[in-house]
C-alpha cells in the first residue's frame, strides 16, 4: 500500500514497496472483447495482443519506424506492389513449435473469410483481390460450367473447372430505392413507379453492355420490373432472398502472379454470362498472399501501397495457430482458444492468468527468441474503469502507468502538468463533428462554414479540454507520416499554409455574413445576436463527460456568435451508431484515429464507398483524387495529391474539424524504455524498471531493454 516516501516532484509515491522488481503493473481500462488477433478491433484487446503475439514487422518504440519482427528482412518491388518476407528461423510459439509462414497465411485467410466475423477485414483489402474475395464477388467454378447468355442456362461456351470469376449479380434480384444514374443516350432506363424504401422484384432477362456507375465499373442488365422492360445498371440492383439460384459472372483473370508484370488480360473482352449459383465456391488462392516455403511469405497488393509496412504492425496481420483454433471450433467452443490454459502465442509474453473483468497476468514466453533479453518478467494488467480509482491506484503506487486505454480526466490535466511524471504527446487522431448534408439547415455549405468559423477552437482546447490539444482547421493531423508532415511544414515555412488564415480560423463576423448569405437574417438583440428563421439544429454525442463539455461549450459559442439555439442530445454509443447509420442526426460528434501512420487512413473515411462516412456527402472527384494519390509511385507527387484531396474536403466541409488529440499519461519515474509516440503504442518488451532511479545524477539512461534493430535495405523483386 501507499505508505512511504512522497517525493513532491511526482504524483503520488515513488516507492515500490510491496511490488516485485521485475513486474510491471498497469491498467488497461476494461475487459477486452477479443484477444484473438484476427478478431480484435478495439484498443483494449489490441494492447494485450501486441504483447503476446508478434507480427512480421514491429514498430520502433520511439520513432514508430518499421523494424524486424518475425520477418528479419524483406524484398520489395519497384512499384510498392509486391513484397517478399523472409522469416527468421528461431521464432517459436509458446508451446515450442516454430513459427512458419503458413501461420501468417492461415491468419490472413481467416480474416478474409466472412464467416469469421473479423471487423478489421478491410485492412486486408490492400491485398490483391482481398476486397473481392471478402465481399463474395470473386469465386471459382467447381466444375467445368457452361456460361449461358440467358438466365435459362441454355447454350453458351464452357469455362474450365477452377476458373476464377467475378460475380456481378445473383438472382433473384430486386431494385433498391437509390436514385438511378443518368442512362446512356442509347439505352432507356426501365420505368419504375416511384417506390420509396420498398424494393421491387426484378426479372433479369439478358445482359447489356459494360458501363460505369458512380465512378466504378459496372454493367447494364436487361430487366423486367412491374410492367416495364428496359435496362438498369448493376449498382441499382441487389440480391434478394437467401438462396441465389443463378449468378451472372464475368471471367476473371486478374489473379496474383507475385511478379511485377501484370497477369495476361486475356483475349478480347472477358466473357460474361449466367451460371448456376451452386457451381460457385470460395477459393482463397485468388488472394494475393502465398507461402512458397516455411520461411517465406509473398504478398501481392492490389495497388501500390506506400504504407504497407506500417500497416503490417496492425494486429489483424499477426499469425495464429490453425491447429489450436480448429480444435476448439470443432468442439463447439471457438472463442475459448484464448483462455490461459489453451492459448498458444508467439510474442515475448504469454497469457498466464485471466480473471474476468478484473485483471490479466502476462508472463515471459520462455520460447521467444529474445526471452533472455527481456527485463520485465511479468505484467499485471488491471481492468479498472473509473478514472478516479485509477488515479488513486497510481498515487498509492499500485500501478506504474496511466494512459493506456484509459485517459486522464481533462479537468486534472492542468494541475498534473506540474508533476515530472506527467507526459503529454500528440496522438494521431482528429476530433470532429459530422454534418448530415441531407438535412436542413446543414445541407447548405455556407451554413456549415458559418458554424465552423463561429467556434473558437483555441478557447475550446485551452478552457474545455485543457489537454494541450491542437486546434484543427483540417482533418489529417499535421505530424502524420508518409511525407505529410514534411509537406505541411514546408508550406507553412513558405507562408502558404494551406489550411491557415482567413476562411479557416475563428472568425465570427465572417460566419455571420455567410449565414446571412444563406438566407438567415441576423439581428442584434439586447442579449446578443439572433438569427431569424434558423431551423432546429441538434448536436448528437455519445454519453461521456468530455463530449458533453465540448458540446455545451460549442452550444454556447454558436448562441453567442451566430445567435442560434441548438439542442444537445446524448445517447450511449450503440444507439448513436445506429442513428448515424440510419441518418437520424444533423450534427454528430465523431472523429478518427489513424489505423496507420499515413493520411490515407483519415481521408479514406470521406470516400463515397467508405462505411465510416455517415455524412451522405459524396464527391466523385475526391474519390478519384484519393485513388490517384494512392497509385502514384512518386512519394512526393503522391503526397501532393493527398493534400489536394484534403483541400477539396475542407472546401466542402462535410465535417467540422475541432482539434487533434493529445495523449496524456502519468508514468512513474523508475520506468524506462517508455517513449511518447503519436500512436500511443507502448510495448512492455522494451521497458525495464530502474530501481536506483532516485540515486542517480546526470542524464537518464532511457534506452530500451533490448536493441530494436533495423531492417537491412530491402532486396528487389
Amino acid at each position: 500500500m501507499g505508505c512511504g516516501e512522497k517525493d513532491e516532484r511526482y504524483y503520488g509515491t515513488t516507492s515500490r514497496h510491496g511490488r516485485e522488481p521485475t513486474t510491471l503493473y498497469l491498467n488497461n481500462g476494461q475487459e477486452p472483447e477479443y484477444i484473438d488477433p484476427t478478431l480484435t478491433s478495439e484498443s483494449g484487446g489490441a494492447f494485450i495482443v501486441a504483447q503476446i503475439f508478434e507480427g512480421l514487422v514491429q514498430q520502433h518504440p520511439d520513432t514508430l519506424a518499421p523494424i524486424p519482427g518475425v520477418a528479419e528482412r524483406y524484398d520489395q518491388s519497384e512499384d510498392n506492389r509486391i513484397f517478399r518476407f523472409h522469416l527468421r528461423h528461431d521464432a517459436k510459439w509458446s508451446d515450442g513449435r516454430p513459427v512458419v509462414a503458413g501461420d501468417f497465411l492461415y491468419a490472413w485467410h481467416r480474416a478474409l473469410t466472412p464467416a469469421t466475423g473479423a471487423r478489421m477485414a478491410e485492412l486486408l483489402y490492400n491485398l490483391k483481390n482481398g476486397r473481392g474475395f471478402h465481399q463474395g464477388k470473386l469465386k471459382v467454378l467447381k466444375e467445368k460450367t457452361t456460361l449461358s447468355p440467358k438466365p435459362d442456362l441454355k447454350g453458351g461456351d464452357a469455362l474450365p473447372a477452377g476458373q476464377a470469376v467475378q460475380v456481378l449479380l445473383q438472382l433473384p434480384a430486386q431494385t433498391t430505392s437509390l436514385p438511378l444514374p443518368a442512362p446512356r443516350k442509347s439505352i432507356q432506363a426501365a420505368e419504375l413507379k416511384a417506390r420509396t424504401g420498398e424494393p421491387a422484384a426484378v426479372e433479369v432477362v439478358g445482359l447489356g453492355p459494360a458501363g460505369s456507375c458512380n465512378g466504378a465499373d459496372d454493367r447494364w442488365f436487361e430487366v423486367k420490373v412491374g410492367g416495364a422492360q428496359g435496362f438498369l445498371p448493376g449498382c441499382a440492383l441487389n440480391e434478394s432472398g437467401p438462396k441465389p439460384t443463378v449468378a451472372v459472372v464475368e471471367r476473371y483473370t486478374d489473379l496474383p502472379t507475385f511478379e511485377e508484370t501484370a497477369a495476361e488480360p486475356g483475349e478480347g473482352k472477358a466473357p460474361v454470362g449466367f451460371v448456376p449459383a451452386s457451381q460457385l465456391e470460395a477459393d482463397l488462392s485468388v488472394v494475393g498472399v502465398r507461402a512458397p516455403d516455411d520461411h517465406t511469405l509473398e504478398v501481392e497488393l492490389e495497388k501500390p501501397t506506400p504504407f504497407f509496412l506500417e500497416l503490417l504492425a496492425y494486429t489483424t496481420f499477426f499469425p495464429v495457430r490453425k491447429d489450436v483454433i480448429e480444435r476448439f471450433a470443432a468442439e463447439g467452443r471457438p472463442d475459448e482458444w484464448t483462455r490461459p490454459d489453451n492459448i498458444v502465442s508467439n510474442g515475448p509474453y504469454t497469457l498466464a492468468e485471466h480473471k474476468f473483468r478484473y485483471e490479466m497476468t502476462l508472463a515471459k514466453n520462455p520460447h521467444h527468441y529474445r526471452a533472455d533479453e527481456l527485463k520485465i518478467d511479468r505484467v499485471v494488467v488491471l481492468e479498472v474503469g473509473s478514472y478516479h480509482a485509477t488515479m488513486n491506484l497510481y498515487k498509492t503506487g499500485e500501478i506504474d502507468y496511466i494512459g493506456q486505454n484509459l485517459s486522464l480526466p481533462q479537468e486534472f490535466l492542468p494541475r498534473l502538468g506540474r508533476f515530472e511524471d506527467f507526459q503529454q504527446s500528440m496522438y494521431n487522431a482528429t476530433y470532429w463533428y459530422e454534418f448530415n448534408v441531407d438535412q436542413k439547415p446543414v445541407d447548405d455549405p455556407r451554413v456549415r462554414h458559418a458554424l465552423d468559423l463561429a467556434v473558437d477552437k483555441k478557447a475550446l482546447v485551452e478552457r474545455v479540454t485543457k489537454g494541450g490539444q491542437v486546434p484543427a482547421t483540417h482533418f489529417v493531423p499535421d505530424f502524420v507520416g508518409g511525407g505529410y508532415a514534411v509537406q505541411s511544414e514546408a508550406e507553412r515555412k513558405a507562408g502558404k499554409g494551406r489550411f491557415d488564415g482567413a476562411g479557416h480560423d475563428f472568425d465570427p463576423a465572417r460566419g455571420r455574413a455567410l449565414l446571412k448569405g444563406a438566407g438567415y437574417e441576423i439581428v442584434k438583440d439586447d442579449d446578443g445576436w439572433r438569427a431569424k428563421g434558423f431551423p432546429d439544429l441538434e448536436i448528437l454525442y455519445n454519453t461521456s463527460e468530455g463530449h458533453r463539455a465540448i458540446a455545451v461549450a460549442i452550444q454556447g459559442m454558436w448562441k453567442q456568435h451566430l445567435g442560434i439555439s441548438v439542442t444537445l442530445r446524448n445517447e450511449e454509443w450503440k444507439v448513436m451508431i445506429k442513428n448515424l447509420r440510419d441518418g437520424r442526426f444533423q450534427i454528430a460528434r465523431f472523429g478518427w484515429v489513424g489505423d496507420y501512420n499515413h493520411p490515407h487512413s483519415w481521408l479514406e473515411t470521406f470516400a463515397g464507398y467508405s462505411g465510416n462516412n455517415w455524412t451522405n456527402w459524396e464527391d466523385t472527384r475526391f474519390d478519384q483524387l484519393l485513388a490517384e494519390a494512392a497509385a502514384t509511385k512518386d512519394p512526393d507527387l503522391s503526397m501532393s495529391r493527398y493534400r489536394e484531396a484534403e483541400a477539396r474536403l475542407v472546401e466542402a466541409m462535410p465535417r467540422m474539424p475541432l482539434y487533434f488529440y493529445t495523449k496524456s499519461s502519468l508514468i512513474k519515474p523508475y520506468v524506462r524504455g517508455f517513449y511518447s509516440n503519436s500512436a500511443n503504442r507502448h510495448n512492455v518488451c522494451w521497458m525495464w524498471i530502474d530501481s536506483s532511479f532516485d540515486r542517480k545524477r546526470g542524464p537518464v539512461d532511457n534506452r530500451p531493454a533490448m536493441d530494436p534493430g533495423t531492417f537491412p535495405p530491402p532486396g528487389s523483386i
Partner: protein, 326 residues
C-alpha cells in the same frame, strides 16, 4: 428501489375522525426535529423559487475565459470549469430536484392509491390479478426498466415528445424552441421514477382498504346506492390517509436520491439544466480540484433529504393513534 414498509398503523375509529387530526397536529408540533425540518424545507423551497429570479447570474451562461473559480464576492458559490455561476445552478438545481421529487411522488401517489384502492375494495380475482402485476413489477430490476423506457420514449420524434409540446404549447411563447427538450427529458424522468415507485404505495393502500371495507359505514353507503368509485375515493381512502401521507412524505427524498443516482449514471437530468444530484455527481469527480463544486450542492441535497426524512418520521409518530401522552 422500494422499501417494504411493514407498517401496521391501526385504523382510527370513524367517530374520532376530527379529533385524530387535531391530536396529530399537536403531537407534531411537539416534535422539535420535525418542526425545525419543516421550517428549513420551507426556506429551501422559497430560496429555489426566488434566487433564480432575483439572482444576478444566469444558470447557463458560460465564461470560458474565467473557468472555475473559488467562491468570491462576484460568485458566492464559485464557478464551474465553463465559467457558469454555481449558485444560480444550485438553486435552479433545487427547483429541478424538488420538482422531480414532488411530481414523481404525485404520479406514484396517483397510480398507487388508485391501484391499491381498487384492488383492496373489490378483492377476489380482481385483487389477485392486480397484485400479481405488482409482484411482477417488484421483481423487475428497475434500472433496466428505466434505461429501456428512456431509449424508447425520451426521443425527439416520439409520441411523448409531441404530447409534451402539445401541453406546453398554450403556456409558452414558442413550444418548438429546442431548449425545451431538456425539460421534456426531465418530465420523462419524473414519469419513469413515479412509474416505478408506486408499488409499495399500492400495497399499503390495499392493506388499509381491506381492513376498512368491512366497516358498517361502507355497507350503509352501498345500501343507499352510492357507487363503488365514490365509496373508494370519498369514504375509504380519506380514512386511510394517515399512512398514505407518511409514505408520500418519505417517498420524496427517496425519489430525489434515485434521481441523483440516475444523474450519476448519466441517465437523469441533462445539460444545460442541473439538479442537485447532477451537480453533486460532477462535483464528486473534481472534488480535489474544486471542492466548492461538491460542497454546496451536496450540503443542500443532504439537508433537504434529512429534513424530509425527519418530517416524515415525525408525521408517522404523530399519526400513530396508539401513542398516549406519557
Amino acid at each position: 428501489m422500494s422499501e417494504a414498509v411493514a407498517d401496521d398503523v391501526a385504523v382510527p375509529e370513524a367517530e374520532s375522525g376530527s379529533s385524530l387530526w387535531r391530536d396529530a397536529w399537536r403531537r407534531l408540533k411537539k416534535n422539535r426535529a420535525a418542526v425545525v425540518s419543516a421550517v428549513i424545507l420551507a426556506m429551501m423551497i422559497l430560496g429555489c423559487v426566488l434566487v433564480p429570479v432575483l439572482g444576478s447570474h444566469d444558470y447557463a451562461s458560460q465564461d470560458l475565459a474565467l473557468g472555475a473559480t473559488a467562491p468570491s464576492g462576484e460568485h458566492w458559490m464559485g464557478t464551474d470549469p465553463l465559467g457558469r455561476d454555481i449558485m444560480a445552478r444550485v438553486f435552479l438545481g433545487g427547483r429541478v430536484s424538488f420538482a422531480v421529487g414532488v411530481i414523481a411522488t404525485l404520479v406514484s401517489f396517483a397510480i398507487g392509491v388508485t391501484w391499491g384502492g381498487v384492488a383492496g375494495y373489490f378483492g377476489g380475482r380482481v385483487d389477485s390479478a392486480m397484485m400479481r402485476v405488482v409482484d411482477v413489477l417488484y421483481t423487475f430490476p428497475f434500472l433496466i426498466l428505466v434505461i429501456l423506457l428512456q431509449v424508447f420514449f425520451a426521443n425527439k420524434d416520439g409520441t411523448f415528445h409531441h404530447l409534451f409540446q402539445g401541453i406546453i404549447g398554450p403556456l409558452v411563447e414558442d413550444a418548438a424552441d429546442p431548449s425545451w427538450f431538456p425539460v421534456f427529458q426531465i418530465c420523462f424522468v419524473f414519469a419513469a421514477l413515479g412509474g416505478i415507485s408506486w408499488l409499495t404505495m399500492a400495497r399499503i393502500v390495499r392493506g388499509q382498504v381491506i381492513a376498512l371495507r368491512e366497516q358498517p359505514f361502507v355497507e350503509a353507503a352501498r345500501s343507499i346506492g352510492v357507487g363503488h368509485a365514490a365509496i373508494i375515493f370519498r369514504h375509504l381512502l380519506p380514512n386511510a390517509l394517515g399512512p398514505i401521507i407518511v409514505y408520500t412524505t418519505l417517498t420524496i427524498p427517496q425519489i430525489m436520491l434515485t434521481e441523483a443516482f440516475l444523474s450519476f449514471l448519466g441517465m437523469g437530468t441533462q445539460e444545460p439544466l442541473s439538479s442537485w444530484g447532477l451537480l453533486a455527481a460532477k462535483g464528486a469527480e473534481v472534488m480535489e480540484l474544486y471542492p466548492w463544486m461538491l460542497v454546496f450542492p451536496a450540503v443542500m441535497l443532504a439537508l433537504t433529504l434529512f429534513c424530509f426524512n425527519f418530517l416524515g418520521d415525525g408525521l408517522r409518530d404523530a399519526l400513530d393513534p396508539r401513542i398516549r401522552k406519557d
